[in-house]
């Protein structure tokens, strides 16, 4: 036990003193969290719209005020030409054109006449389908509301927005567990590299010439990975909570359990890589190749439902899918893909199988 503690401490010191390794292990997930946080921050997106008022009437101004107050938009006034160049520059997401004669039509309607309807033009960019759709919906909603109000009829049907989620789950809350899962996966598979290094430099052989038992050697490597995993978890969660408003609602115990199980499973996959990589270069190569399918064929960055069938069946085999799912459930109360015991069983299964493979094929020298 004394040797295990001393060797763990030595490995940890080596890791901390290796600035490059330290930077990549700790900075990378942080950069990821902040990046995703900025993309998904704020929940409901705020759209920048150009407001082209060709009518110039008091009615148009009232419509503008009502629109700005009720929709998640910020309006920028200008002529159609100005607005077009703004949109091309990316300053605005779309253009709303209030045509000349709008007030005349409304006045006529108020006077009891039946004038021809007048068109409010919405210009959007179809290459940004989400934004485009959202703006069209907002504009349609605006026009419908105006129609109703002008016609004086009372609405018969309304929509009450609701979400089927037990907790408030904004975009960041969805992604923080995914990033944590990804960080744990990388931490684990990259365990192969120092291991192969130590074998190549005959450090493992030198240790093997001492009475140090092998379980202590393996144990110290795993212990260091777990310590780093704990630090990464604290950093990612800390930033998520402090800067991005992520709400962690789960019990700390199951969260810690899945963090440890995930770190163990992926470290074991790292040992499998180290079993077959003879050189450090080979280990680097295999690790990069392995981590991409592990990452992108799992359901951590997009819902599995959007994948084609064959890809979805691949994803349901990937351990990261289950770690992401388990962390999402336990941390932010995300909707389950699988029940937690299934997540634990799949991760545990990967752990046992990869441990068996490394026990069979790992070479110390």
């Amino acid at each position: 036990m004394r040797a295990l503690r001393a060797l763990s401490l030595a490995n940890l010191k080596s890791f901390v003193r290796d600035r490059a390794a330290l930077f990549w292990t700790l900075a990378f997930p942080i950069v990821f969290v902040i990046l995703f946080g900025t993309i998904f921050a704020g929940g409901g997106a705020q759209y920048q719209l150009a407001w082209v008022d060709q009518d110039g009437s008091a009615t148009a101004a009232a419509l503008r005020a009502a629109f700005e107050a009720n929709a998640p938009v910020e309006l920028k006034d200008g002529t159609f030409e100005e607005s077009k160049s703004r949109m091309l520059r990316g300053d605005v997401d779309g253009i709303l054109v209030i045509p000349k004669g709008l007030s005349a039509v409304i006045d006529a309607a108020h006077a009891g006449q039946h004038p021809d309807p007048i068109e409010v033009t919405v210009v959007t960019d179809p290459s940004r389908s989400n934004t485009s759709l959202a703006i069209q919906q907002i504009a349609t909603g605006l026009v419908m509301a105006a129609n109703l109000q002008l016609s004086g009829a009372s609405p018969l049907l309304t929509v009450r927005p609701d979400a089927l989620q037990t907790q408030q789950l904004n975009g960041v809350s969805f992604f923080v567990p995914s990033i944590l899962a990804m960080a744990l996966m990388q931490l684990g598979v990259f365990a192969s590299i120092p291991l192969v290094q130590q074998r190549e430099k005959l450090i493992l052989k030198r240790l093997n010439a001492t009475p140090l038992p092998r379980w202590a050697l393996v144990g110290s490597n795993v212990a260091v990975r777990l310590v780093i995993a704990a630090v990464q978890t604290a950093l990612i969660l800390g930033i998520g909570i402090a800067l991005l408003g992520v709400k962690v609602v789960g019990d700390p115990l199951p969260i810690a359990g899945f963090v440890i199980l995930g770190a163990l499973t992926f470290t074991s996959i790292g040992y499998v890589i180290a079993s077959f990589a003879r050189t450090e270069e080979a280990a680097n190569g295999i690790t990069s190749v392995v981590q991409f399918p592990l990452m992108f064929l799992s359901g951590i960055f997009f819902p599995l439902e959007v994948l084609p069938d064959w890809l979805r069946s691949v994803a349901t085999l990937m351990p990261l899918t289950y770690l992401g799912d388990a962390l999402r459930q336990t941390m932010v109360g995300g909707a389950p893909f699988m029940p937690l015991p299934v997540d634990a069983a799949v991760l545990g299964g990967w752990l046992v199988v990869t441990l068996g493979i490394s026990a069979r094929f790992f070479r110390w020298q």
Binding site: A6, K205, P211
Partner: protein
């Protein structure tokens, strides 16, 4: 007379074979090392010295044959043996980011008993570098540290694999002093080397290896004496007596003229020299630059393998 192998054998290697694929790295090796002696495995790179030594250290299993260290079979008592021996590997790197002191303390935790770090630092003159990370050590310092690591557990048997390879002469002689002190402390030492002068300077007994086999073993004296009974009496050619007179001196078998030297090959050095001095004093002169030379291990290796050791 040195202790012959027998009851007090600390290492016994008995008909050991080891092959890697088609390559017979060790091809039927047997020898014994007695308590308190320095035993050297001498041979060129690839002779099987390191493989032999690493099998004794328990790092590789032999394909066949038996190895006992301190009376224990390496196949069954590897951990018990490892606790009582110290190992210095030829090319092993160290944790580059740990300091000298940290590394010595770390290795101390691996053993049932260990020496104080301070003593190791002092014995191997590493005190000034105690807080240096090992990646910043010079070649000689690194080699001394690697020997210090082999001594952490105060071992009864020390294995040194090419301990002075790559060192400058000063560092090499410094390490020889350390090895002699280890012997003085009663430890048994098994070392490999491909330096003749190192083998002659340090080793009580030697085994000469080539192509995985031991070609001959014994003390340097014995190895040389078995092949080269005669010694050479060298002196300057200028002013030397005539060849017939030299040839007639007692015990002289041949007279050979080299560039500016005469060499008398003799089976009885004192008789030959006494007669030589009498001959020259009668002529009122004396032999200039008189020297007695015996054959070296280099000559033995050449004789055994038909080629020089350092090709």
């Amino acid at each position: 007379m040195l202790g012959r192998p027998g009851q007090d054998a600390v290492i016994t290697v008995d008909d050991v074979f080891k092959a890697y694929g088609d390559v017979k790295a060790v091809d039927g090796v047997s020898f014994q090392v007695s308590k308190g002696e320095i035993f050297g495995l001498l041979g060129p790179n690839g002779a099987g010295k390191t493989t032999t030594m690493e099998m004794i250290e328990g790092l590789h299993a032999p394909d066949s044959g038996a190895i006992h260290v301190l009376g224990m079979d390496v196949r069954h008592a590897a951990t018990a043996i490892k606790n009582r021996v110290g190992v210095q590997l030829q090319t092993a790197a160290l944790y580059p980011q740990l300091t000298v002191t940290e590394l010595l303390s770390l290795f101390g935790t691996f053993y049932a008993r260990h020496q104080p770090v301070e003593r190791l630092l002092e014995d191997l003159e590493l005190g000034e570098k105690r807080n240096a990370q090992t990646k910043n050590l010079s070649g000689g310092q690194r080699q001394r540290l690697s020997v210090a690591l082999a001594l952490v557990n105060d071992p009864e048997v020390v294995f040194l694999d090419e301990p002075t390879t790559g060192l400058d002469p000063a560092a090499r002689h410094g390490l020889w002093t350390v090895v002699r002190r280890l012997k003085g402390e009663g430890r048994t030492i098994l070392m490999t080397t491909h330096y003749m002068e190192e083998a002659e300077a340090l080793c009580d007994r030697l085994a000469i290896m080539d192509h995985g086999r031991i070609l001959d073993s014994g003390t340097a004296e014995e190895l040389i004496g078995r092949r080269f009974r005669e010694r050479g009496v060298h002196f300057r050619r200028a002013g030397a007596p005539d060849q017939e007179k030299l040839q007639a001196l007692p015990a002289v078998s041949r007279v050979v003229y080299e560039e500016d030297e005469v060499v008398l090959f003799t089976s009885d050095v004192p008789a030959t020299i006494a007669a030589l001095l009498e001959l020259t004093s009668r002529a009122g002169t004396e032999p200039a630059d008189l020297m007695i030379r015996r054959a070296s291990l280099e000559d033995v290796f050449l004789e055994l393998t038909g080629r020089a050791l350092r090709d």
